[in-house]
Symmetry: C2
Subunit: 283 residues, 2 copies
Amino acid sequence: MYYGYFNGTIAPTDQLAVGVTDLSLLRGYGLFDYFLTYNGRPFQWDWYWERFQNSASRMHLPLPLSKDETYAIVMNLVERSNEASLKTGLTSLNDLAFRFILTGGYSADSISVVRPNLLILAEMIHPTPTIQYEQGIKVILDEYVREMAEVKSTDYKRVILMAEAIRAARASDLLYQKGGEISELSRSNFFIVKGDRLITPDRHILHGITRKTVIQLAQSDFQVDERPVLLSELYDADEAFTTSSTKKVLPITQIGDLTIGDGYVGPKAKFLLERFDELVKTW
Amino acid sequence: MYYGYFNGTIAPTDQLAVGVTDLSLLRGYGLFDYFLTYNGRPFQWDWYWERFQNSASRMHLPLPLSKDETYAIVMNLVERSNEASLKTGLTSLNDLAFRFILTGGYSADSISVVRPNLLILAEMIHPTPTIQYEQGIKVILDEYVREMAEVKSTDYKRVILMAEAIRAARASDLLYQKGGEISELSRSNFFIVKGDRLITPDRHILHGITRKTVIQLAQSDFQVDERPVLLSELYDADEAFTTSSTKKVLPITQIGDLTIGDGYVGPKAKFLLERFDELVKTW
């Protein structure tokens, strides 16, 4: 059983509910963040908090809790969710995902922001299937760029709208490009590898915490270029991969009709995934 | 007291709530529609239903109710909301606003659509202040175009984000333009008047039901041009106005620094508002 926090109340997640005048429901006005715990501790907490705060500020929503208050609630939810799991007979404590959601709050005139609503939800982690790490994934190109891409708003209409097209292509996700410039996947960042160079888009993207972690881990072995990346650069890439909290470092072996490198998972993505797994093991 | 319907349950609106795995909350995946009743009957019901159905189809969400079932619920909510008002001592039955909200529904993996959630809410009408009809409103230009403008998705982030800028300019709303082409206001359509010509944008807009009604009402007295409208055309416009269900026909006398015509409410907008008021009086 998972617990959540909503405006001061802590309860099992399936007992939490939001009133129907919330501006996320009426007007799509909300933002979120999402991270995992490793060994019971929030991964890269300082960076996630900074990004959450930045999204809130860019959307003109004051945060109702301080960093320390929020951390205390997260740890409280870790404890309660674990206690509940132990009671149902599970013996090992598993790590959790956390979702913060900040909305425009309840609005009497259905447009004016008065006081934001804050949800903090502990969730089950949906791990990426092992076969995807072994074979790499296929993505399809989509001409699109997210509005206010740097803000983690809740606007993910595009990928839900494209779900049928993704399935029809036997692909896992979209790779967004606009006018030939690549930005990101629908919920994760994008890298290509050329020799000892890692190349990753630096604009029209959400600045991923896993992206930042991987760039740090890569410093001693790679030259990392953060810059605009063109579609044409895919043709002579050795490897491609995507990064996110749940995908970690996930190889991409096909982009639309184009096979990346030799079509198999490459050594550089594998190497970075190992470095990442080492880091989180002792987090 | 106002009543609402949520997935089969009818209750006072303030007792309705949506669980926290709804895709409108998690991913901004929702659409809506909004109309008024006149003399207790839904205004332009056929047209609103057609548009709601079209939005749902464009967002790949099956409608859980038929047109007739939905109409019966609307009339049920009219009755209950009126009964509740009578009990509290009000003697006259007032007209209501209705908001339909269709979301991506509850999602276990926070991205896949399984079964949409449908809300039908009776609401108080927020009438446009009389002084705005007497003096006209000011709007400010904003370089923006709504994604999937023809679909009434719940995505109104832009105008909420710009609320401070609108207030600072002592304006009432935004007029969207992109590359010099005007589309619409944040929640209403746009018209200019030149002589006996009504000119209104025909693309990148939500096809407003009030817009359609006004075009019908205008047929015998105006030539109506539905076509792309450029910013440069504002300079020699006699009048400008906006249309929506709650604004009806509302004059615009200032757009940014530009005064429209002589800066006063013009006779053509007044004439069309009178025609509109006559129509709804006997609806």
